[in-house]
Structure formats: C-alpha cells, structure tokens
Symmetry: C2
Subunit: 182 residues, 2 copies
DNA sequence: TAGCAAACATGATGGAGATCATGTATCCTG
DNA sequence: CAGGATACATGATCTCCATCATGTTTGCTA
C-alpha cells in the first residue's frame, strides 16, 4: 500500500493530530507508538519512516500543538472560553499547556524546548493583545493572567466534585473580570 | 533481617517520603517500585508487604504529601515563598500540586480522589487565612490566588531561559501584591 | 513499461518493570 | 527459650512496548 506524495504529507499530519489528542488526554507515557499509529489508521511498522523515535514524535507533536495562535481579546473575554465547563471537560481538544506542561518538563530536552518556545510566543501574543499605553503592564497582565487561567483549569479538572469544579471556574472568571474593570 | 515494630512504621514513612520526592521530581511513570525501595534503603521484594500495588503507593503518597498544612498569610506573603527561584528550582521538595496535579488526573481513581481532597482542603485553609469581612470574597481570592501561583510556577519551570523564568515569577508576585493593595 | 525506491504491513527482538515465589533471619508470644 | 510469624532479600515470571528486520505492494522515473 503505497500512496501518492500528498497522501504521505497528509498521513504525517494525521499522525501529529491524533498524537496530540492522545497525549493531551492520556499523557505521554501511557500512549504507545502503536496506539498513535492505530488511531491514525496505520500500523506500528511505518512509524519509523516518519519519526526517529517516540521522543521525536513527542517534540514534534508539541510544536504542532502550539503552532496555532491563541484567541485574542481581553482577559475576561478569553477566560470566558478558557474557563468554560466545556474546555474543562475536554482535555483532548483543549489547551496543550494545561494538559501537558508538567509532564513535558520530564521529557527529552527537545520536547521541553518546544514547549518553552510555545509558551514564550503565546505570552508575547497575549501581551500584544492586551497592550494599552503601558507595555510593561500589558506583559505583566499577560503573564499573570495566563498563569491564573492555566492554574484554575488544572485545579478545576482535579476536583471530582462537579460543584467545586464549577466554583473554581466561575470564581476565577469573576476575579479576572473584577481585575480588568478595577 | 527483621527489625522491631517501630522500625517497621519508620520504614513505611521513609518509603512514603522518598516516593514523594521521586514522584515530584520524575513523575509517577518514570519512577519504578524498585527505585523507591532502593531510595528507602530496601529492596524491591519487601514492597508488597507495605502496599497492595504501585497504584496504592501513589494514592497513599499523595495523601501523605498533602497532609501538612500550607503556610498562612496574605497572598503576597505566601507568593514570596511560593514564587521564589528556590521553590521553582526545587521540584522534589516543592508543592505537590504544581508538580503532580496534571498527571494525577490520569492515575487510578483513588489517587485522583486523594489529590482532589487535598486541594479542597487547601483552598479552604487559604480562604480562612484570607478571610476578612466577606467570606465569599476570601474564598474567591483563595481560589484565584492559588490558581495564579500554581500556574505561574508551572510556566516558570517550563522556560529554559532563566531570565524568562525570573520574569514570570517576579511579575506574578507583583501582580498579586498590586491586587492585594488595590 | 521495467525496475527501483518509497510506504507500509507483519512479525521478531530485547529490555524494562510490576508482581509473585521462595528462602532466611530475626522478632515476638507463650 | 521453642515455635511461629514477620520483614525482608533474591530471583523468577510475564507482560508490555520501543525499535528493528523483512517482505510486499505501488507510485515514480527513465
């Protein structure tokens, strides 16, 4: 089964795509190379035609996950989505930083570098999106605002009591809009 | 080699202690039962005399890690420690939530429940520590403040550029004290 | 269109790690 | 102080998984 050139590029993308979902949902270690290939509609053998190793896949997947630009807007507006129950309950399609940042620290240096780069870029983009008169203030708001949203999402996900999950999401959203107005 | 009763209790504690450090530093999956026992000065065989399984160890370790009460004080004061370069660079002795929360989501239900319980308790304690006239406001501040600190610590740790790590820690600290005064 | 090389499937291989089986030395109970 | 139980060591087992080896089909190039 060989396919045309384009199909090959598509396959590579599909692998990165499903790897991203699987990693975010289950973590790097619990997902096997075989799982990824099966989810992409292939078998494990072909894997090493696309990637040097599982570590290589992880690094490239992180880069892929962080390539789209995050939504723009003020913190309150962004938080409306980021801290929604929808996003909270949907790890596999949600923010890769919240889902994978901690584990990435323990992966190979390339993976960590890819995550670090993505985070740096996103902080820059958010700061621009927030920029008013004072760039320094916008950057601070970007850093702290992003920290707040990521931390809250993680805490909300850990709670097994839905009421508490909702409380964390809502209260953090309110705190962020208070801040924005005050 | 059998030891007196007390030694047994001590051994159990030592295992939980070193397991906590290893897990926080390397994650649940990269630490083996053998690693833990070796670090505790024992061999792998005795492990199943203490714990039913590795999952059991994980759950009990989380409970153990979260049993001490967190420091009290206002957000700015707490952040001074929590967002210090020291804490940032010292995963194995640092906050278990920042180090392990995400991975705990993917562990057995008992582990997740232990983490959820700890988080609930800590939010309550922080809220009390912050309580002024308005309990609701204190609780909101506790939730959002904790989220901010945890998120910032995670982001700071991901960055491989020390300057950026420092920036994240400092700016978040400032944002939190601004909020406290404003 | 002949033949090569790419893309992928199937099936090893090899190591790691969780758990179990067994042996032994030491503590505790009578 | 005898006998059993306990705490632990050593070594075996068994599964899982990353990676490699090989074969086969099919697009591509001359």
């Amino acid at each position: 089964m060989k396919v045309c050139r384009e199909q090959v590029a598509e396959n590579r993308l599909r692998i990165l795509e499903v790897a991203g979902e699987l990693f975010k949902a289950q973590g790097f270690d619990k997902v096997t190379v075989c799982d990824v290939m099966k989810a992409a509609g292939l078998t494990h053998g072909g894997f090493y035609g696309y990637f040097k190793s599982k570590d290589d896949l992880i690094a490239q997947t992180i880069t892929h996950l962080l390539s789209p630009a995050p939504p723009r807007g003020g913190l309150a507006r962004i938080a409306e989505h980021y801290l929604s129950t929808d996003h909270c309950g949907n790890m596999k399609e949600g923010c890769p930083v919240a889902a994978l940042a901690t584990e990435t620290l323990r992966q190979a240096p390339e993976a960590r570098a890819a995550m670090a780069d993505g985070v740096r870029r996103r902080i820059g983009e958010l700061a621009q999106s927030l920029a008013g008169d004072d760039d320094r203030a916008a950057r601070r708001e970007a850093i702290a605002g992003m920290s707040t949203m990521i931390g809250a999402l993680i805490l909300a996900r850990i709670c097994d009591d839905p009421a508490m999950t909702r409380e964390i999401l809502e209260e953090t959203r309110m705190w962020l809009s208070d801040r924005e107005q005050g």
